[in-house]
């Protein structure tokens, strides 16, 4: 399934913050986690993740440090900061409202897959 571009953009920040809340990761591992969480149905353009991460870093929501990968190459690791955790909680509350409203209205719509989509 192809997810609308605007929807991907809107959900990217809380998704990345939420994934980093599980533990520190490098960029590619974040992408793999996104694919895993959506069973491969959400495919981000790889290159676009990094400007997003830098923006989050600039806002002070994540911190980054250079480390070394298993193969001995330079690799940047990202971690959630306390203020990032706060933002995540705010976004979580906002998304709860949005998904709840959507769920109510969409469950009344009779259409193919309308109920299944929210399983």
């Amino acid at each position: 399934m192809r997810i609308d571009k605007d929807l991907v953009a809107a959900s990217a920040t809380p998704l990345v913050l939420g994934i980093l809340a599980e533990g520190d990761l490098h960029g590619y591992a974040i992408l793999k986690r996104v694919a895993e969480l959506s069973q491969g149905r959400m495919q981000w353009t790889d290159g676009m993740l990094y400007p997003l991460l830098h923006r989050l870093e600039r806002n002070g929501w994540v911190s980054a440090r250079w480390g070394v990968s298993d193969a001995g190459r330079k690799r940047k690791h990202y971690a959630l900061t306390p203020s990032g955790r706060q933002v995540l909680e705010e976004r979580q509350a906002q998304w709860a409202v949005v998904t709840d409203a959507l769920h109510q209205v969409l469950s009344t719509v009779r259409g193919p897959g309308a109920a299944g989509a929210w399983a």
């Binding site: 793999k32 353009t45 790889d46 990094y50 830098h54 600039r58 193969a71």
Partner: protein, 455 residues
């Protein structure tokens, strides 16, 4: 993940990296991150059964359109957007565009020269001082309005505001006596604050109407700093040439001074100003390397000066010349510190962690505040005793405006250095505070003259 040591893939990755690095908005650090991603993707695809070439091609495809990625990097790092100036697909013929810009700019510079010359012909120093900013800055604003395709509504609003200012200031009865008489205090204040107000209005044109955006305002701050550097260089060179010209004509017995004073300077100075503005636009990444160097040289020197001033103020016993000249001196010191700070902050990558230089800047802010507080407390009673004059009110008002700016900057820098805040917050405070300067300048220009009965 497996290490892919095969020469074919390594060679392809090398080529890909060079191709990525050709984009000005992508740094080597970003490229290393993208490469790490690419390698991870290739390793996974190979593990899934693809051969080297297929894995590389799919991984590169997954990376996305590099022009789009580069533009996103530039947006995330607005200081790089400044360096990049032209985003990849938006304006392809970069060199042609610059030459056309220069042609328009030279025409506008000649216009500014004619306006200045016309003001000089009036032979009224007061009118000249009040109006010289109106003779030069609208031409620069016109250049920005043209090059940035400023929306007609914003351009109209700016023109109306500038025209209204010009009318009001020239209708003030500063010159009740005959023309040519020395300026009254409020007229001098208006003449010195007017350029600041007009300059900030110019910022609206510079940002193409998007003056509310933090990143665009920061660009304007950068532009201002670089313009000062370029204009100083041009003025030095021009001064040297003029001196040589005068000396040469003097040797052959021709007095070139009337020509130089009445014609050459009235065209050369505004011309140099506008050309400097164009140079900043055209050669941004060249000067960008100068800003960090200049601030690193002058921040410690200024700190030394301030410490010496503080010691002198504290050790010198009761202040003898506690009057407006001391107030003006304090304003000068604070202005210098604010300018240094703004210049340094505008050139700094906000993502890098705090270092010794940031501490030095904090030291500069704290010392400047200490100097100012010592001077102000010494003056407080005197000001209350001697009553208010326009000069004292203007100097004290500016002092308060600068003080609040520095206290805010110092506090946010402290939070940043203690890892309680971000450098982004320090930056945003600077651009937000610019409005206060515009308001204060407007008060001095428009309210002071009638409030102090044009004295």
């Amino acid at each position: 993940m497996t290490e892919d040591g095969r020469p074919g893939v390594e060679h392809q990755i090398d080529q890909w990296r060079a191709w990525v690095l050709r984009r000005e908005a992508i740094t080597t650090g970003d490229a290393a991150e993208l490469e790490d991603n690419l390698r991870g993707r290739i390793a996974d695809l190979r593990a899934a059964g693809l051969d080297d070439d297929e894995a590389f091609l799919v991984a590169v495809r997954r990376m996305g359109n590099l022009d789009d990625v580069s533009r996103e990097f530039a947006r995330a790092h607005s200081e790089r957007l400044w360096k990049q100036l032209v985003l990849p697909p938006s304006r392809p013929s970069r060199a042609d565009g610059h030459w056309r810009d220069l042609g328009v700019l030279i025409a506008l510079a000649v216009g500014a020269g004619i306006a200045v010359r016309w003001l000089l012909v009036l032979e009224d120093e007061g009118r000249f001082a009040l109006n010289v900013a109106f003779a030069v800055l609208p031409f620069l604003a016109a250049y920005f309005a043209w090059s940035r395709r400023l929306p007609a509504r914003a351009a109209g609003a700016l023109a109306v505001m500038a025209a209204a200012l010009a009318v009001v200031v020239n209708l003030f009865p500063f010159f009740a006596d005959e023309p040519g008489v020395g300026l009254s205090t409020t007229a001098v204040l208006a003449a010195t604050h007017l350029p600041v107000l007009l300059w900030l209005l110019l910022g609206v044109a510079y940002t193409g109407g998007a003056w509310r955006e933090h990143a665009r305002r920061m660009d304007f701050v950068r532009f201002t700093g670089e313009l000062v550097v370029y204009f100083t260089l041009l003025a030095l060179g021009g001064g040297l040439l003029t001196g040589l010209l005068l000396a040469t004509f003097d040797v052959v017995g021709i007095d070139a001074e009337p020509f130089v004073q009445s014609w050459l300077l009235s065209f050369a100075v505004p011309g140099a100003f506008l050309v400097a503005a164009w140079l900043v636009e055209a050669k941004q990444s060249v000067v960008e390397n100068m800003a960090p160097v200049l601030t690193r040289v002058f921040t410690p020197l200024t700190l030394g000066l301030l410490v010496a001033a503080l010691v002198a103020l504290l050790a010198g016993g009761p202040l003898t010349a506690v009057d407006r000249s001391l107030l003006v001196l304090m304003d000068g010191i604070l202005l210098l510190v604010v300018a240094l700070l703004l210049y340094a902050i505008s050139a700094r990558d906000p993502i890098t962690a705090g270092g010794p230089f940031d501490w030095l800047q904090l030291g500069l802010v704290v010392t400047a505040l200490a100097v100012d507080v010592v001077a102000l407390t010494a003056m407080a009673s005197r000001i209350a005793d001697a009553g208010w004059t326009a000069n004292k009110a203007a100097a004290l008002g500016l002092n308060v405006v600068l003080l609040v700016h520095l206290v805010g900057t110092g506090w946010l820098l402290w939070r940043f250095l203690r890892a309680h805040g971000t450098f982004d917050a320090v930056e945003r405070w600077q651009t937000r505070y610019l409005v206060v300067y515009a308001v204060w300048a407007a008060v001095v220009v428009l309210v002071f003259p009638p409030a102090f009965s044009y004295a």
